[in-house]
């Protein structure tokens, strides 16, 4: 199971830096980052890191609200229309999601698309069922 680390963050100066300081001290690498916020002054930071379990533990120990959430990471090309093609297949698989983000691996080459499937238990099976390439943990975490 591939996981991202999600952290509750108030939209205040220095709060994101507190997270990165904890990860820095633990020598955890950030592979991808996605920050969203609500009109109410808080938001959730989603991180793909080299060691999500350790990151989760360290952040919680530091007093922050962090949680592990299952994601599926899909491979796509870094070119016009690639996401459209990918989404056609995701639609075919019937997987609806409310949170996703992307990451370029090498410019003009390939890219990754992370989909939060925590609340969709058979998403992985459905996505591979329509022929999508799911990236394994080692490649996602870069270890």
């Amino acid at each position: 199971m591939t996981c991202q680390v999600s952290v509750f963050l108030e939209n205040k100066l220095g709060h994101l830096e507190r997270v990165t300081a904890v990860l820095n001290a633990a020598k955890i690498n950030i592979r991808s980052l996605h920050l969203n916020h609500t009109a109410s002054g808080w938001g959730i930071l989603n991180l793909v890191v080299s060691d999500p379990e350790q990151a989760h533990q360290r952040l919680n120990d530091a007093g922050m609200s962090a949680a592990l959430r299952e994601i599926v990471v899909l491979k796509m090309a870094d070119q016009p229309g690639a996401l459209d093609d990918l989404l056609k297949l995701i639609v075919k698989a019937g997987v609806n999601f409310s949170n996703a983000y992307g990451r370029v691996v090498n410019e003009g080459g390939s890219a990754l698309f992370m989909v939060d499937v925590q609340d969709f238990p058979d998403a992985r099976a459905r996505l591979s069922g329509v022929g999508l390439e799911i990236i394994d943990d080692a490649r996602v975490y870069g270890v």
Binding site: F8, G41, M64, S65, R69
Partner: protein
């Protein structure tokens, strides 16, 4: 000039005689209630009588906790079939405080209300718009019955919807309005937004403002904005509601109606009377209520008697503005809120940590109650929808509890300083002018 001349200018000696007479009747009625029926002091007074009003100090106090503790019927002194209305405090946690009225009580209350408004210059030729919530809150029906008794054309407009309020004022030529002071800044803004000047485009001449503390400067600003005279009104539901104390046209202190209440001011620590003119806690006894007399009620409001006689000729003493509370209750948008009510709601939610902070602030001319709530680490699932739902859930629960919609701010665990000892959880940053 007077609604009930004889009573309003009754000399102090005769006023005191009347008080003793009415207190004895009140004690007799009160002893029918299970709470007061047990009191040996009341029994003693009923058998031996009373020679001076100061002897009231031998009677025990009644507190809000007593009212709650003997909920729902412990203070009812009349046959239930004679009771025609109840008013109740907000709240769903714990017992609310309830006050019962029979027909006589409602009529007596309406009369005090009419007397108060008359003292502020309101007459039967006026058009009175009551911008105030109706229902269990006493400001709606309390004013309504008084205004009708006085004979004005009443407009029971209720709270909110400023454009409609303004339309009512213009359609029917409203001359007097009753509202909470913190609403009037907002109302003025809506006048301006609609390209209107209340000084020219309405017939308003008198405002009655109350239900929340405000400064003299705030009053003067309201008078200036609207081109009216604004009079301070004081009341509390345990003593009926509005119509307890009211400013006359001198605008120099609030006459408290001493034929209807015995008024004491005590030191909240020693429980002894303070020296004349010193600030202390207001303690009140009803003198003309049959369904539910209340003896020596500790209002928790801090105020003082003003010295000297009023130019208006009324002999009923004047109270200064309420300067604070001897407990932690605060008033926002006209609603009385105890921090414990909010704590009660929050602590029932497993997602919420132990620390919270209440900030009262003025944002764009509107008073707001901001509550910072910690999201517990253990319950965080990284899901924005769940948190958003939690935020709305807390908002609804608190609004149901205290009748004011709070602004809930979810904050990171540990970001609110840990409370040590008796925590100060309420920060009041509201504009005081």
């Amino acid at each position: 000039m007077y609604w009930e001349k004889e009573l309003e200018i009754l000399d102090r000696a005769n006023l005191e005689k009347l008080q003793i007479e009415r207190l004895m009747t009140t004690l007799r009625v009160a002893s029918n209630a299970s709470h007061y029926g047990k009191s040996p002091e009341i029994k003693r007074f009923l058998s031996s009588g009373m020679s001076s009003i100061e002897q009231i100090r031998d009677l025990p106090f009644t507190t809000k906790e007593d009212l709650r503790g003997d909920f729902p019927w412990g203070f009812l002194a009349a046959d239930k079939r004679d009771v025609v209305r109840l008013h109740s405090s907000s709240g769903t946690t714990g017992n609310p405080t309830v006050v019962y009225h029979n027909r006589h009580d409602l009529d007596s209350w309406a009369n005090l209300m009419a007397r108060s408004l008359y003292a502020a210059g309101v007459r039967d030729t006026d058009v009175f718009q009551n911008i105030c919530g109706y229902g269990l809150f006493t400001g709606g029906l309390g004013f309504q019955y008084g205004v009708e008794k006085l004979g004005c054309l009443s407009i029971p407009a209720g709270a909110g919807n400023s454009p409609r309020q303004i339309k009512l004022m213009r359609d029917f030529g409203t001359t007097v309005i009753h509202a909470i002071p913190s609403y009037l800044g907002r109302l003025y803004d809506v006048f301006v937004e609609e390209g209107l000047d209340p000084r020219k485009d309405t017939k308003l001449h008198t405002f009655v403002i109350g239900a929340e503390p405000h400064t003299e400067e705030h009053r003067r600003r309201i008078e200036e904005m609207f081109g009216v005279k604004a009079y301070n009104s004081f009341g509390l539901s345990e003593m009926n509601g509005p119509g307890v104390a009211f400013e006359c046209t001198e605008q120099n202190g609030l006459h408290i109606w001493e034929d209807a209440f015995i008024v004491e001011i005590i030191d909240p620590k020693t429980l002894q009377p303070v020296a004349d003119g010193e600030i202390g806690e207001l303690v009140m006894t009803t003198l003309d209520r049959q369904a539910m007399p209340v003896i020596r009620y500790r209002t928790r409001d801090l105020t003082r008697f003003l010295d000297g006689e009023c130019q208006c000729g009324r002999t009923h003493r004047r109270l200064d503005r309420i300067s604070g509370r001897s407990d932690d209750m605060f008033i926002i948008k006209g609603c009385n809120v105890f921090p414990m009510q909010i704590e009660g709601v929050l602590m029932k939610l497993p997602e919420v940590g132990d620390d919270y902070r209440i900030t009262l602030d003025t944002i764009e001319d509107q008073d707001q109650m901001i509550i910072e709530v910690e999201v517990k680490k253990e319950s965080f699932r990284g899901d924005i929808t769940l948190l958003d739902r939690l935020q709305r859930h807390i908002t609804h629960l608190i609004r149901d509890e205290v009748l004011v919609s709070p602004h809930i701010k979810l904050v990171e665990p540990g970001s609110i300083p840990k409370a040590e000892g008796k925590a100060v959880r309420v920060f009041d940053l509201r504009n005081k002018v």
